[in-house]
Every structure is written in structure tokens, then in C-alpha cells.
């Protein structure tokens, strides 16, 4: 019946486009990387170094480093803290994010 935006009566400016692994998704001004990905229905954007297991947000406040992601070719950004600009290229981070 409600969304968080409705609940807080938020009226952000129109969404802009960013990409996740080349696919276009919409982000609202003020959303972090994690918030934009959640809103797009995506909960995982990293695989672990050893097990290759998927990870996403865990602590949500920048303490756990589980939500690491590559933004504009910079790996290991905390998605729960990193802000977004129009045209930003988010990439799923595999392992250390520095290639093999």
C-alpha cells in the first residue's frame, strides 16, 4: 500500500540513468549505489574471492565492507555509502576487483 518514498513524502527530482554491467538502470538523486540497486530489484553485486559467493548489503552503515562494488573502474567502493552521478558505470565486483 505504501513505499518508503510515499511514507516520507519524498519528491526527488527526476531519476537519471546509470549502468550496472552495461545495463541501464534508473537512480534517484540522493540515492546511494545500494539504494539504486535495491530499487531496481538487485540485491547482490559482488562475488567473494575464495568461494565466488554472491554478497550485497549486510550492515548498511559502512562497517562490514560486504557491499563492495566497482564504480567507474574503481573497485572496493562501499555501495551503502557511495553516491551516484548520472552516467556512472557500476560493475559487479569479482573477488578483489583487480582482475585475476
Amino acid at each position: 500500500m505504501s513505499s518508503p518514498l510515499d511514507l516520507a513524502q519524498a519528491h526527488p527530482r527526476p531519476a537519471f540513468t546509470v549502468t550496472l554491467d552495461g545495463r541501464e538502470i534508473e537512480a534517484l538523486p540522493g540515492q546511494t549505489v545500494a539504494a539504486a540497486l535495491w530499487t531496481a530489484g538487485i540485491t547482490s553485486w559482488r562475488t567473494t574471492r575464495d568461494g565466488g559467493r554472491p554478497r550485497g548489503v549486510f550492515c548498511g552503515i559502512g562497517v562490514c565492507f560486504d557491499c563492495l562494488v566497482t564504480v567507474n573502474d574503481r573497485p572496493n567502493q562501499r555501495a551503502c555509502l557511495a553516491s551516484l552521478q548520472p552516467g556512472d558505470a557500476i560493475r559487479t565486483q569479482e573477488g578483489t576487483g583487480h582482475g585475476d
Binding site: L7, W38, T43, C59, D66
Partner: protein
């Protein structure tokens, strides 16, 4: 002249830091308030990003009037030039020279630009973070801390799914569940391991806090309206899914804290918000040399640590909630103002705050006895359950280090297995590792409060302590 006034660095802009800032500024101290967030509020009063243009952020909050008072106080003192609020400043180190302090922070979107702030005294209001005890499946995307679910909701107006189970133990679970429900998330169940009978047994300590009880009852009533089912003396025993969370299994607990055979049931959900209490952030206090009592920074009646010139207030001195943080922050700010002016404070000046501090500490102690993870929580950790999320160290590996290699403490387990050696520096797994090793959780003695680029460390060596050095 403002610059002749003594200068206090307050670290953390949550309830404790804001109360301390206002109290110190009101009594003639120049305050620099450093905080990692873009806006004041800390975790408890975390505000939506300004660009989201939320017209009713109070819909996400409890006790909004207190927040307005804190916010307006900060604005007033900042406008008057008594307070400088440095946002987006991630403090990683504080050091004491003879009679001065240097607080080192990183700023910028990548947190690579170093800044150093000089001050006559330091007030630590660094807050806390959530403790989560592991269980099979807890690393699946969709499983997150209860506080994390709340932080994402308050700060970014985002939720991770449509159907959530809120689980664990502690006073945080109810507000998290009601917050998610109000934001349109279906709460499939609230799973609390505490025994409601324990609340009756401690009714005297609780009855001294009518406001707090009413607050809890209010959350419970709202949750009922959302038709959420509440399971007490239950625990999540496993989270299921392959690429993301699909369901959890919950089960009833017996009097010994063991899972009752035959009570397991599966609940479909795409989100599990789970927490087992809070732990204080004490890294900066530890590097300053402050004495810790268990995992808490030890303070005296004036909120002074045992290091001259260092005060501490709020969760960092012991988890107790925002009202206690406000009282402690006020006292710390008043004490710092008096001491920096070279006089011993008259404690009658803050008698009201001291009275609520006593009352709220008693309440926190009572709650601590009520809300407890299942006594046998570590039995839920299977040998292939990942315990250290960063280094992917399993329960089996840690048990082997304990049983076969003789590791009896968190540090030895770390050296033998890498558990706690990753990005989070053991903040997420230390409580679990201590449980598996059969020892008490002790302070971890991290050299820095957050990861620091090597380039910054190299630079700090050659360019010490100038404000805004780059």
C-alpha cells in the same frame, strides 16, 4: 575573540555528540564536530539524503521533537561561529601530544584526502554497531542487519524486498519491523529469542521507565495492525537460497536455549533483518590509550576517560540507547567546558541529566538481562557455515583451531585461521569467534578506526598535523 576560546573536537554527530556539542558551545567552548555522514543525526536520527527531498522524514522516526531540538541547537551555534560541523569526515586516528590533540580524518568521495584537526580536548561519541551471531545461510544476499535495514530505510528510503522476517533479540527489532511495515514491506514474522516471562520477572526495573514501556507498547500495537506474527522464544536456524534469500527456517527454543526438536517451520521471505544487540565503537579510545571496562570505554561521573583531555559519551561507553546518550553527552559537554576553562565543575549544574543517566543505565542493564541470544547459539554454526564473512573462514576451521591447535582467544584464532583479518577487521565475526573459542569478547586493539590508504600514511609522516593539509 572566538579563537582564544578553548577548542574541543567532538567525534560523532549522533545524539551523544550533538548533546555534547550544544552543552560545550553554550558554555564558552569552540567546538569542531566531525562526522562521517553528510548530515547530522548519527544512526538513530539518520536523515534521508537532502536530494531525496523528503517532506515528512518524521514518519521514519521516533521522538522527532528531540531531534528538532538537537538540529536547531547545532544550527544556532554553527551560525554564531561557536561550532564548526565537518561533514563527510571519516576519522581514523586521534593522537595526544603533551597537552593537545590531533584528530585525523579522511574526506572526499573515495575517502583519500587527509585532514587533521587540532584541539585542546577530544570528546568521543562514536556510537555503536550491530552484533550478529552466525547461522547457516547468513551470508546470502537479502540477509542483513536489523539496524542496516533501518539505516537504508531512514537514509535512502530504500528497502531490499517485499517480504521480511525480522529476527534475533533486542529492543531494536520492534522499531525495525514497524518501520519496514509502514514502508510497505510485509512482515512475515518477528522472531525474538527472549522469553516474555523474563519481562514479568523484571517488572520492577522496567516499571521505573513508563515512557520507554509505552514506546515499546506503541511499536507492538502498530505491528499488530500490520498483522505481523510475533514468535518469542524462537530463533532462525537457517536461511535458504542459492543466489539470494528465499526463506528461513525458524524453531522454538527450550529453557536451556536449545532448539526444540520438531518445531522447525519454514517461512518464505526475500529479506531477513537480523540482530543480536549492539557493540560500541572504541577504536579511537583504544588508540588514545583509554581504559576499557570489558568492551566499553570506562568513564567517571563527568564522562571523563582515564586519559586527561579525553571525554566519552553515548554507546561507546556502553550500549544504552539514545536517551542515555543525550544525558551522557550533555554531562560530557558541560564537564569539558568547565575543565577547559580551568575550573572543576559543580555537578549540581547537571543534576537532572545525572539523574536520568542513573535511571537509564539501570534500565539498559535490565534490558540486557532480558534480551539474550539463545544460550546455545554457537551450536547452530555448522562446520561449513562461514563465520568470518571477509576471509570466508568457516565454523569448522575455527573449531579445529580451538580444539586441535589450542587457540583459546580471538587473536590466536585470527593468527591461525585469518578469521577477523579482513576488511571489517573482525567487527562482524569477533563475537562469534569468541563464542566458538569459549572466551569473552575483548577489545580488539585495531591500530586505525578504518582502512587508510598507504599514501595517506606516508604523507602523515612528512606533513604532520596542519589543519586541512593535503
Amino acid at each position: 575573540m572566538a579563537t582564544d576560546r578553548p577548542h574541543l573536537a567532538v567525534i560523532g554527530a549522533g545524539p551523544a555528540g550533538l548533546a555534547a556539542t550544544a552543552a560545550a558551545a553554550a558554555h564558552g567552548v569552540r567546538v569542531t564536530l566531525l562526522d562521517a555522514a553528510a548530515q547530522p543525526g548519527g544512526q538513530f536520527y539518520r536523515q534521508p539524503a537532502a536530494e531525496l527531498r523528503a517532506h515528512r522524514p518524521q514518519a521514519l522516526h521516533h521522538d522527532w521533537r528531540t531531534w528538532e531540538r538537537l538540529r536547531d541547537g547545532l544550527d544556532t551555534y554553527a551560525r554564531a561561529g561557536a561550532v564548526t560541523h565537518l561533514t563527510n569526515h571519516h576519522v581514523w586516528f586521534a593522537e595526544r601530544h603533551a597537552d593537545r590533540f590531533t584528530v585525523h580524518a579522511l574526506l572526499g568521495p573515495e575517502q583519500e584526502d587527509p585532514v587533521a584537526v587540532q584541539a585542546d580536548a577530544v570528546l568521543l561519541a562514536t556510537g555503536g554497531y550491530e552484533k550478529v551471531l552466525p547461522f547457516p545461510g547468513w551470508t546470502l544476499p537479502g540477509v542483513l542487519t536489523a539496524g542496516g535495514a533501518q539505516a537504508m530505510l531512514k537514509g535512502t528510503l530504500a528497502v531490499s524486498g517485499r517480504t521480511a522476517v525480522v529476527a534475533g533479540t533486542g529492543p531494536l527489532l520492534l522499531p525495525v519491523a514497524t518501520g519496514l511495515a509502514a514502508a510497505g514491506v510485509q512482515i512475515a514474522a518477528l522472531v525474538e529469542s527472549a522469553d516474555p516471562k523474563a519481562f514479568v520477572r523484571r517488572s520492577r526495573a522496567l516499571a521505573a521507565q513508563p515512557g520507554k514501556l509505552a514506546e515499546g507498547a506503541g511499536y507492538a500495537a502498530r505491528l499488530l495492525r500490520h498483522r505481523a506474527r510475533t514468535l518469542t522464544r524462537h530463533t532462525v536456524v537457517e536461511a535458504h537460497g542459492t543466489e539470494r534469500l528465499e526463506a528461513v527456517t525458524v524453531a522454538a527454543l527450550d529453557g536451556e536455549g536449545r532448539v526444540r526438536p520438531g518445531t522447525a517451520r519454514r517461512i518464505s521471505c526475500d529479506t531477513l533483518a537480523v540482530g543480536h544487540g549492539m557493540l560500541p565503537h572504541t577504536d579511537l579510545a583504544e588508540t588514545l590509550g583509554c581504559h576499557l571496562d570489558g568492551v566499553n570505554v570506562q568513564v567517571d561521573d563527568e564522562q571523563r576517560t582515564d586519559v586527561p583531555g579525553v571525554w566519552a559519551a553515548g554507546e561507546t561507553t556502553g550500549i544504552g540507547g539514545s536517551a542515555l546518550a543525550l544525558a551522557e553527552g550533555h554531562i560530557a559537554g558541560r564537564s569539558a567546558a568547565a575543565r577547559l576553562a580551568g575550573r572543576a565543575p559543580d555537578q549540581r549544574e547537571w543534576a537532572a541529566a545525572a539523574k536520568s543517566r542513573t535511571r537509564l543505565r539501570e534500565f539498559a542493564l535490565a534490558l540486557d538481562g532480558l534480551y539474550a541470544p539463545p544460550a546455545r547459539w554457537s551450536e547452530l554454526i555448522t562446520d561449513d557455515t562461514v563465520v568470518c564473512r571477509c576471509e570466508e573462514v568457516t565454523g569448522g576451521t575455527i573449531r579445529e583451531a580451538v580444539a586441535e591447535l589450542g587457540a583459546g582467544d580471538v587473536r590466536t584464532v585470527k593468527l591461525l585461521t585469518r578469521a577477523g583479518m579482513g576488511w571489517c577487521q573482525g567487527r562482524m565475526c569477533a563475537a562469534a569467534v569468541a563464542g566458538l573459542a569459549g572466551c569473552r569478547l575483548a577489545p580488539s586493539r585495531r591500530p586505525f578506526a578504518r582502512p587508510v590508504p598507504l599514501g595517506v600514511l606516508a604523507r602523515e609522516d612528512t606533513h604532520p598535523t596542519e589543519r586541512g593539509s593535503s
